[in-house]
Structure formats: structure tokens, C-alpha cells
């Protein structure tokens, strides 16, 4: 880490942030849902389309070779970003984190989980890391177990050893998209491996904000989406240990994923293409690589450090200005935490809150954040969530606080 982040310079890289909304400066506090793009990502995708586009893997002319080169270079860039030991085999491009987890459930899950087998989930999961397992549980008659949530908004791991006993698979988030809690994933994964389980990490929230090393996390699979880490929509990543991916049946069938097809069958391609049926999102991969380069140039420690100092500022300002009128669903302080603030303000409904905030140009997300079991546990139908990223600054938090005050007056 080489000093704090120069936010003013960063902001200039993001054209979308220069606009006005309802006569106010755009204050974008919804990066946990989807982040914005630096010009370099937009340029990389434009350049790809303007100079290079052709289908990958099948052409022998130079345009196609260049498309192929950029696509595979993106795989290597992503692999390096998450510390993948064998990026060329282990990084599978998919549509998004949701598809990555569905792929694990549909392939590894169907091949390895049988009636009565136990799967351990947590109360903090996004629907993307719940519903695929619920679907498989229904299909295969699996036993689902749950790590609960403590009153400190952290996972309650007191019972972990008992819960892990006999479990075949553990699927857990690395960071809650509602609470901002960074889970003790490495410890959970180590205990899960001791119990003989395979471990899936939903990294959708942590990969964009924290330095990631799949070895240090100790996961067997890691899922994340480009669009939450300055990249485009339409592409996500499944990283998996090569030996597990190798043993898994393919997911979608079609072109690109086969080695041979006969009238009576097919043999699948080698990794990672075995899991990439059909024409992949090539320009999106190029955009994702540019996003990775952008984040690497700044440094993930600096990104995270910036978010934590902004989080601390927000916690202080909101407490000073609103006291008990405002509740933050999430751990106090900045330890094991990312820049997500799920808010309840008096009894103003989160939809009304975000509507009033929008009039001040402040974008926050209202709703259940695709985590209904967690919302039930919190005892609220919805929250208004403000989330921070590298382009946010203290004035954004001030704008949020000012807009909250207007909402308070309106619904007084």
C-alpha cells in the first residue's frame, strides 16, 4: 500500500459519475448491486469491437486469432487476480456468479450428492447461493443445514463442528451483500475440509473489494461477477480446483465444449472449454480484464483501505446526525467488514426512503437484496442499502445524510 487513494483522480475515470440527476450531482451508492465503469474498460471493449471481433477458438485468420488471444489473456488476468494456481485450466467464464453456482450444483452436485447427504448453508446467503441448493435438495432429497446469524451480525460458529459432521458440501459467502460482514471463510473452509466436505465460496461481494487468493481462502470453488468489479454485465467467473473440474460432467452442451461428437455420443473438451458451451462473452471478457488491470494498478489493499475509512466516516456521521433514529444492520466498527450499510430510518419504508434519496441524486437500493431468509432473521421485509466503492468520497456520505434528513421531514 502506497498511501491513500486519490479519489478525485479516480472519479474522473468514471464518466457516468459526471452527470446530474434531478438537478443534483449523481451520488452512486449502489455498487454492491452493480458497479460503474472506468473509461479504460469502455475503451477496451470499444477497441475490441472496432478492431478485432471474430468468433474465438475456431478461426485461423488473424482477426480470429487476435480475438482468441484477447479472450484467453483475460482468463489469465482474472486467474492472476484471484491467485489461481492454474488459471489456464481453472478459470471458467460464465454469465455471472449465479450461473457459476448453478453450474457447481448441476454438475458437481448431481454427480456427488445423493439422497440423505447433507449440505451446509448459512443464514447470510444471497438467493444465488441458496436456490440452486434448494433445487438440488428437492431433486435429490438432501438434508440442508444452516449456520445461524449472531446478534452481532456475524455467523454464529459455536456449533460448526456438529453442523459439519457428515456434511458433503459447504456453500458460504465471503462477504454479506446485506450486512457487509466479511465471514471467517478460511477457518470455515479448513474445518469443512477436515470434515471431508467440498467448499463453495460465493465471492460476488468480496472479490471486487478485497484482495483475493483462492489458496488463502481455502475454497474448492469461487464464484463472482464482473459487473460488481468495474467490469461489464454478461460475464462472471467460476474458479474451481482443476482436479474437481476435471472430474465433473459438463454443464451446457453445444459447440466449443466438445472434443468429438458422433451419432451415438460425444466426448467433452479439456478444461476450461468443457464448461464454455457456445460463443462466449468475448468483449465482456476483454472488459473484465481491463477492470482487473484498473483495480490492480490501484491495488486492492488501497481500495479496501479507502472503503473502510469511508465506512468509519459514514458510521460516525450517521450516528452523530441521527442517533437512535437510524439503525445499521451490520457489525459495528470496521473489523471484518466491507463498505455496505443496510439502513432502517425511523419507520420510513426503505422504498420511500430510496425514492426521496433519488430526488437528491443519491442512489441506494431498497428491498430484500435477494436474501429473504436473512431479512426474516433480521425481522424486516426490506432495508435501504448504501454501498461504497473506490469512487465514493466523504461528500457522498454527506449527501446521503442530507437526503435522509429530507426523508425524515417528509414522513415526519
Amino acid at each position: 500500500m502506497t498511501g491513500p487513494l486519490d479519489v478525485a483522480a479516480v472519479k474522473k475515470d468514471f464518466p457516468v459519475l459526471a452527470q446530474q440527476v434531478h438537478g443534483h450531482r449523481l451520488v452512486y451508492l449502489d455498487s454492491a448491486a452493480s458497479s460503474q465503469h472506468p473509461q479504460s474498460v469502455l475503451d477496451a471493449m470499444d477497441d475490441y469491437y472496432a478492431t478485432t471481433h471474430a468468433n474465438v477458438h475456431r478461426g485461423v485468420y488473424s482477426l480470429a486469432e487476435e480475438a482468441d488471444r484477447r479472450y484467453e489473456a483475460a482468463r489469465l488476468a482474472v486467474g492472476r487476480f484471484i491467485g489461481a494456481p492454474q488459471p489456464q485450466e481453472e478459470v471458467v467464464f460464465v454469465k455471472n456468479a449465479t450461473e457459476a453456482i448453478n453450474m457447481v450444483a448441476a454438475t458437481w452436485g448431481r454427480a456427488n450428492l445423493h439422497p440423505g447427504d447433507a449440505v451446509l448453508l448459512t443464514d447470510m446467503e444471497h438467493h444465488a447461493n441458496l436456490v440452486p441448493w434448494l433445487m438440488l435438495a428437492e431433486e435429490r432429497d438432501l438434508e440442508l443445514r444452516w449456520v445461524g446469524l449472531g446478534d452481532d451480525y456475524r455467523l454464529d460458529l459455536d456449533d460448526l463442528d456438529r453442523l459439519l459432521d457428515g456434511v458433503k458440501l459447504v456453500a458460504c459467502t465471503t462477504m454479506s451483500n446485506v450486512l457487509g460482514t466479511v465471514t471467517p471463510f478460511a477457518a470455515i473452509a479448513a474445518a469443512a475440509h477436515d470434515a471431508g466436505a467440498v467448499v463453495v465460496a460465493d465471492g460476488a461481494q468480496s472479490v471486487p473489494h478485497l484482495a483475493t487468493d483462492v489458496g488463502a481462502l481455502g475454497c474448492d470453488f469461487l464464484a463472482f461477477s464482473a459487473h460488481k468489479m468495474l467490469g461489464p454485465t454478461g460475464i462472471g467467473v467460476l474458479w474451481g480446483k482443476a482436479e474437481l473440474l476435471e472430474a465433473m460432467p459438463p454443464f451446457l452442451g453445444g459447440g466449443g465444449m466438445i472434443r468429438d461428437v458422433r451419432r451415438d455420443g460425444f466426448s467433452p473438451n479439456v478444461l476450461p472449454w468443457k464448461f464454455e458451451a457456445g460463443t462466449p462473452p468475448i468483449a465482456e471478457a476483454v472488459g473484465l480484464a481491463a477492470a482487473v488491470h484498473y483495480l490492480e494498478a490501484i491495488g486492492m489493499d488501497r481500495v479496501h483501505g479507502h472503503e473502510l475509512s469511508l465506512l468509519a466516516y459514514a458510521q460516525r456521521i450517521l450516528a452523530e446526525r441521527f442517533g437512535d433514529d437510524l439503525h445499521v444492520f451490520g457489525p459495528e466498527g470496521t473489523e471484518d467488514r466491507g463498505g455496505v450499510l443496510s439502513l432502517a430510518y425511523r419507520d420510513v419504508h426503505p422504498h420511500d426512503l430510496s425514492q426521496v434519496l433519488d430526488q437528491a441524486g443519491v442512489c441506494v437500493r431498497a428491498g430484500h437484496h435477494c436474501a429473504k431468509p436473512l431479512m426474516r432473521r433480521l425481522g424486516v421485509p426490506a432495508t435501504a442499502r448504501a454501498s461504497l466503492y473506490l469512487y465514493n468520497e466523504e461528500s457522498d456520505v454527506d449527501a446521503l445524510a442530507d437526503a435522509l434528513e429530507s426523508a425524515g421531514r417528509l414522513f415526519g
Binding site: 434531478h22 422504498h351 425514492q355 429473504k372 426490506a382 429530507s406
Partner: protein
């Protein structure tokens, strides 16, 4: 108040939000209970309706939601009580066409004076016309129509059951 918001948060709406009418439950039977969900935001509404001799004799609303869904439910309950099922169905239709103006516009490319749907007789809606500002905030339309769709479903269920 900030610009634009006064179209949405009319005084009548805030009043019905703060002091909702016909809030609560009805014993079932004889009343009929139907739940509605807005899957996007988790809002839920429970409509209890008592139909007697082809008339909505009583109605109660339970559940939770934002100011728009709650006030719309409250306004609806006041508007339909004592009306014949037929009149209520007409009202539901009129209300929903008021709420669909924007959808027509969206398809037209969001022109300010894009083609509206059928003309809506706002006078026939009385206090309910206060909700017309919602169409300027398209994501909130579902909040406003939640209780109406739930009531329509309740009436359909009753019809299927041969009660009305």
C-alpha cells in the same frame, strides 16, 4: 419538499399511510382471505373481503409495505366498501388503466406525450386520483397496484367458489 416528489406523496396519500382505513382482519369464514406479494421488494398485503348478496359488505387490509402500497390499499378499502362486486370490478379496471399509462409510454420510447392508453375518467376515481402521480415513478406502480390485484384475485376466487 423536493421537486417531483409532491406528485407522488400527495397529502391524501400521506394521510392514508399514517392513518390507514379498514386496517385489520375479518373472521373467515364468512370473510375470504387473499394474500398478495410484491416479489421485488417483499411487500405483502392481505385482503379480507366479505361479500354478501353480491356486495362487498366489508373489507380489511393487513400486511406491510411502503407508503404507496399501504395508502393505495387504504384508499381502495374505503372506495369499494358497500359497492356491488360488479362496480368493484369496474373500479379495479379503471384504477389499473390509470396505472398503466406509463407502461404504454415506455414502449413508445418514453416520450412525454406518448400515446396514452384508454382515456381514464379520473373523476370517477374520486380520492383515488391522488395516486395518479405514481405513474411518473414506474417502479412504484407495482406498489400501488398490489392491493388491487389482490382484491381482484379474491373476487375471482369467490366467483370460482360460487359465492358471488
Amino acid at each position: 419538499m423536493m421537486t417531483g416528489l409532491e406528485d407522488l406523496y400527495r397529502e391524501i396519500i400521506l394521510d392514508h399511510y399514517r392513518s390507514p382505513r379498514n386496517r385489520g382482519e375479518l373472521p373467515e369464514p364468512p370473510a375470504h382471505r387473499t394474500e398478495g406479494f410484491n416479489p421485488l421488494c417483499g411487500d405483502e398485503v392481505v385482503v379480507y373481503v366479505l361479500v354478501d348478496a353480491g356486495t362487498v359488505a366489508d373489507i380489511r387490509i393487513a400486511g406491510q409495505g411502503c407508503s404507496i402500497s399501504q395508502s393505495s390499499a387504504s384508499l381502495m378499502s374505503a372506495a369499494v366498501k358497500g359497492k356491488s362486486v360488479e362496480q368493484v370490478r369496474d373500479l379495479i379496471r379503471t384504477f389499473k388503466s390509470m396505472m398503466s399509462i406509463h407502461e404504454a409510454r415506455l414502449e413508445e420510447g418514453d416520450g412525454e406525450d406518448g400515446a396514452p392508453g384508454e382515456p381514464v375518467d379520473l373523476d370517477s376515481l374520486g380520492e383515488l386520483a391522488a395516486l395518479q402521480g405514481v405513474v411518473k415513478f414506474p417502479v412504484r406502480i407495482k406498489c400501488a397496484t398490489l392491493s388491487w390485484n389482490t382484491l381482484a384475485q379474491a373476487l375471482d376466487e369467490l366467483e370460482t367458489a360460487g359465492v358471488s
